[in-house]
């Protein structure tokens, strides 16, 4: 099933019991990237988490592709904002009284 750091899409879909067309749709919207390894359509292992999240949105929550796209975008923004909050908190600590 595994080719180096890639997973064959056919086998992934078979394991998850999902349609290959769903993966193709995700690729078309740019949510995941499909690569060809040894003439086999694969996804990188690093994309698995993102892909599994999309599957859960689609099959568990009945969210369509446009919705998934929007959610993933907003989650990315949330993540960036969380990082900004961490940075700002650390900056704020500059002005707090030192702990003794």
């Amino acid at each position: 099933m595994q080719i180096a750091n890639h997973i064959a899409i056919d086998e992934f879909c078979s394991s998850w019991n999902i349609e290959v067309s769903f993966i193709n749709s995700l690729q078309e919207t740019g949510l995941i990237e499909v690569v060809i390894v040894n003439e086999t359509a694969c996804i990188e292992v690093t994309q698995l988490q993102q892909l599994e999240k999309c599957i859960r949105f689609y099959y568990e929550l009945d969210i369509n592709l446009e919705g998934i796209e929007t959610i993933m975008h907003l989650l990315q923004r949330m993540n960036n904002m969380q990082n900004d909050i961490n940075d700002l908190r650390n900056k704020l600590r500059l002005f707090e009284r030192s702990e003794t």
Binding site: N17, R56, L61, M78, N90, S98
Partner: protein, 299 residues
């Protein structure tokens, strides 16, 4: 084991039609799904309850059993009856559970009524990824100055990790495959470790730069000289320029914090001078200051 009112969890009444149950579940699942609420433990707990309620109420057989014995489950006779059903009629929905779900996530109440979720006989051997785990490590600023190895115990397993120098307060690192165990041969979840780095009493950190302040006596500030200051990794000598002003800053290049995962690179250390005016002057000192004052050019 507390009685769990699945109808209340889904916000529906006891006569709700299957479609109403489905709609209520979808609505709440979209609100509390862990993928939509990262790092929110309450949302995760809520989602587990919603999922559990849906597992029972969306299945006519289980719903009937729940309606029949649910409220009186504590009564031994009925409890025993319920136990007989374990493993027989569970899990026909066939939908995927969240990657963060596992049998262990269902309530004691659920398991006593219907048997363990994982053992209840999902019709397909779908592989589930184990749940992601979160941990927090507390360090002080000096700890974070150098890479160090630590051993953590997660779910009874010891994990040896290397914390790279320069880790930030609030930063989270992922240890792949060290989360909850996968189900039916699915991959393990990941372990997320968030670092909490305590303030240093004298030195503040912002990114890779460090900030400190030192008291400087008036004479050194006016005439210049050499002082010794404390840094995180020892003392350094610092030349003070003549006529240094109060609150002026100097930058010590490369004396800041190491850059995360960039060996040999470091930020800068900024030193702010607080000039201390001498007190308890002797008569002679006062006279000398007066002389100095008279000799200075006034605007």
């Amino acid at each position: 084991m507390d009685f769990v009112d699945y109808y209340k969890i889904l916000g529906i009444n006891k006569t709700a039609a299957p479609k109403e149950i489905k709609n209520a579940y979808r609505k709440l699942a979209r609100k509390f799904h862990p993928d939509l609420n990262p790092n929110d433990k309450d949302a995760k707990k809520n989602f587990q309850q919603i999922n559990e309620a849906n597992e029972v109420l969306s299945d006519p057989e289980k719903r009937k059993k729940y309606d029949q014995y649910g409220k009186d489950w504590q009564h031994a006779e009925e409890f025993e009856k319920a136990k007989q059903y374990q493993g027989q009629s569970f899990g026909s929905r066939g939908a995927r559970n969240s990657g963060s779900q596992s049998g262990a996530d269902f309530s004691d109440f659920f398991e006593s009524m219907f048997g363990g979720a994982a053992s209840g006989g999902r019709s397909r051997q779908v592989k589930y990824r184990g749940e992601d785990l979160n941990a927090e490590i507390h360090l002080n600023l000096i700890d974070a100055l150098k890479s160090q190895k630590q051993t953590l115990t997660v779910n009874g397993n010891k994990i040896r990790i290397t914390i790279p120098a320069g880790i930030e307060n609030g930063q989270t690192i992922k240890i792949q495959g060290h989360g909850g165990a996968g189900i039916n041969g699915g991959p393990n979840g990941d372990l997320y470790i968030t670092f909490s780095i305590a303030n240093h009493p004298k030195i503040k950190r912002l990114g890779n730069n460090l900030y400190t302040s030192v008291d400087l006596d008036l004479y050194t500030a006016v005439l210049g000289g050499e002082i010794t200051i404390d840094t995180l990794d020892g003392q350094v000598k610092l030349k003070v320029k003549p006529e240094t002003q109060n609150e002026s800053k100097v930058k010590l290049k490369g004396k800041g914090f190491p850059v995360y995962k960039s060996e040999g690179e470091a930020g800068d250390l900024y030193v702010t001078y607080h000039i201390k005016i001498p007190t308890n002057l002797t008569d002679k000192q006062k006279a000398l200051f007066t002389e100095l004052s008279d000799s200075s050019i006034k605007p």
